[in-house]
């Protein structure tokens, strides 16, 4: 037996659920339509023989995966993706930790520096990348101009930043790191400000110098936030092709081809939707594993 009050409460609760669902629906719908549908389609395509021009499709099982695994370009792209990600993340982590430590100390003009630092992140990525493309251009490169005038390189044989395989890889890694640095710095800065001022001071009184405080106190205390920064960085790098596409379009000779740009070239530019889908899906289990591992580590390193 329920009393009137109880029933009213239950009814109120029902209404609460409805309202909640209504408020939640736009976000859910958005994710479903923008992410869920393409993801499901990519999944379907990866197991089919669909191309841009085909009218129907038939399922071919794991054929696409088998064929891309044999492709030398795919293997090169996978290798490049891993190098690209690891190298840029290493640069970004070290660089942004240094920057965050510097920006955490009060100094004149700190606000301005913080603002300037954020610019690469807020500027459209293709715009930034195009700027770099000019700076690294084989004929008009300002970088080379400076290097020549400093007599560091020969005037008639300057480095072809985007034209030589190794230099091209170095260039895309550096530009991508430049692009991710602000984001990572802001995250780490937030982590740093969360450390009570007393703790580094206690370390100082206890006799620890700068490096010991950094490696034994500050960095371990920031580990959860560093993990978050790294996780985002890895995902942003592994799944992003803008810098590579604008700067080198994967060249020369696929030396900077990464999986996303390869998927785009195969699936969209060459029209082989099935193979392109297979290439892009190849990343999903890998990234899911990385994300899971990182979140586990973040949850385990309890601080405070």
């Amino acid at each position: 037996m329920t009393t009137g009050v109880e029933r009213a409460a239950v009814k109120g609760q029902d209404r609460g659920y409805l309202l909640g669902a209504a408020m939640f629906a736009p976000a859910a719908l958005y994710i479903l339509l923008i992410i869920g549908v393409p993801f499901a389609m990519a999944f379907m395509y990866a197991f089919s023989d669909v191309t841009v021009g085909s009218e129907g499709m038939s399922f071919v099982g794991f054929d696409n995966f088998a064929s891309i695994l044999e492709s030398p370009t795919f293997r090169k792209s996978l290798e490049n993706s891993i190098i690209f990600t690891l190298a840029s993340q290493a640069l970004v982590l070290v660089g942004s930790t240094m920057l965050a430590l510097a920006l955490n100390k009060p100094f004149r003009g700190r606000k301005l520096v913080r603002f300037v630092l954020l610019l690469p992140w807020v500027a459209p990525i293709s715009l930034g990348a195009i700027g770099w493309k000019w700076m690294l251009d084989s004929l008009y490169s300002v970088i080379n101009w400076v290097l020549i005038h400093l007599h560091l390189v020969k005037e008639f044989d300057p480095p072809m930043w985007l034209g030589e395989p190794k230099l091209a890889m170095l260039s895309v890694i550096l530009v991508h790191s430049w692009r991710l640095l602000p984001f990572s710095t802001v995250i780490i800065l937030a982590g740093l400000t969360a450390i009570p001022k007393d703790i580094p001071e206690a370390a100082e009184v206890d006799g620890a110098g700068f490096w010991r405080t950094l490696f034994e106190i500050t960095i371990p205390m920031m580990r959860p936030i560093l993990n978050v920064a790294l996780l985002f960085g890895i995902i942003f790098t592994f799944t992003d092709m803008t810098v590579v596409y604008v700067l080198t379009a994967g060249g020369p000779f696929d030396s900077t081809q990464v999986l996303p740009s390869y998927a785009f070239t195969t699936g969209i530019l060459s029209g082989d939707l099935a193979q392109g889908a297979a290439v892009s899906l190849f990343l999903v289990p890998l990234l899911a594993a990385v994300a899971y591992g990182m979140l586990r580590v973040a949850a385990r390193s309890e601080v405070v």
Partner: protein, 343 residues
Amino acid sequence: MAVVETRELTKVFKQGELGAVNSVNLTTQEGEFLVFLGPSGSGKTTLLRMIAGLERPTSGEVLIGGDVVNHLSPRQRRIAMVFQSYALYPHLSVYKNIAFPLRAQRVPKDQHRVKVAWAAELLGIQKLLERKPRELSGGERQRVALARAIVREPSVFLLDEPLSNLDAKLRASARDELEQFHRRVGTTTIYVTHDQVEAMAMGDRVVVLHQGVVRQVGTPTEVYDRPADTFVATFLGSPPMNLLENGDVIVGFRPEHLVPAERAPGAAIALKLRAVNVEYLGSEWILYGRIEGERFADKVVIARLPDASGHSIGELYDFGVSERHLRFFDKESTVRTEPRSLA
């Protein structure tokens, strides 16, 4: 062990503003327990942080063991500090927390275990060594912070309100432990607090600070019985000293010295009090009385009585203060002056 000395020590945070600490001259005695007492904003923590080397003085000198240490970093001053928040390293076990100063000062590794065990035993925390700080209670954290401070056998201890994060009950026992601990190790200790009870109970001497200026340095008896000025007189003691203006002097007397007239024969001041409030506090009574008569009329004074059960609000009573309990302060400078007879 060493003596800490400050000479004209000054800290001004913003130019043109009043300094947080102004020309402080202090010298500790060997093995002394010196308490900096003052309300919040009195500069006591800033003073301590300058001695620790965490804050750079605007001018003046800090000396430890006879040497000027202004240019030395905290690690070179051989001091140990316990922070108000304890500042334990949250990601390290209690053992590693205590061993951290040893590691930082490159004490040979084989000595760590012995020294940590010694410090842990001194503070009774041997069973907590494997825990993380967040698994400890407030009192346990405080003891770990102390253990971390003594493990390197510092020449000076600096304690910044180490009891203020404990609940009232724990605070009393922690205070007692700290006193015993100081008696055992005998290291020169500077202790910052805003709690006058702590200051009176623990200090060999008390430094009373107000607006960055030392108002008085003295033993607890001195600062309580012979306050240097009206600030010290009212800051110490609860309820505070009664102050009454009389011509160009201020007359002060403690609430416990304002007693019913029959208990103060030949009183220097006789007052007729209309009781406006009577509080029962268990071990004592507090009586608030409005003075009636020509002198000091309408001033409210406070009396602290062993028993005021016979007093009721609204009634008129005769109270008095004997002469030896009167203190006199200059009205202009508020500084204590020679006793004089009341006109």
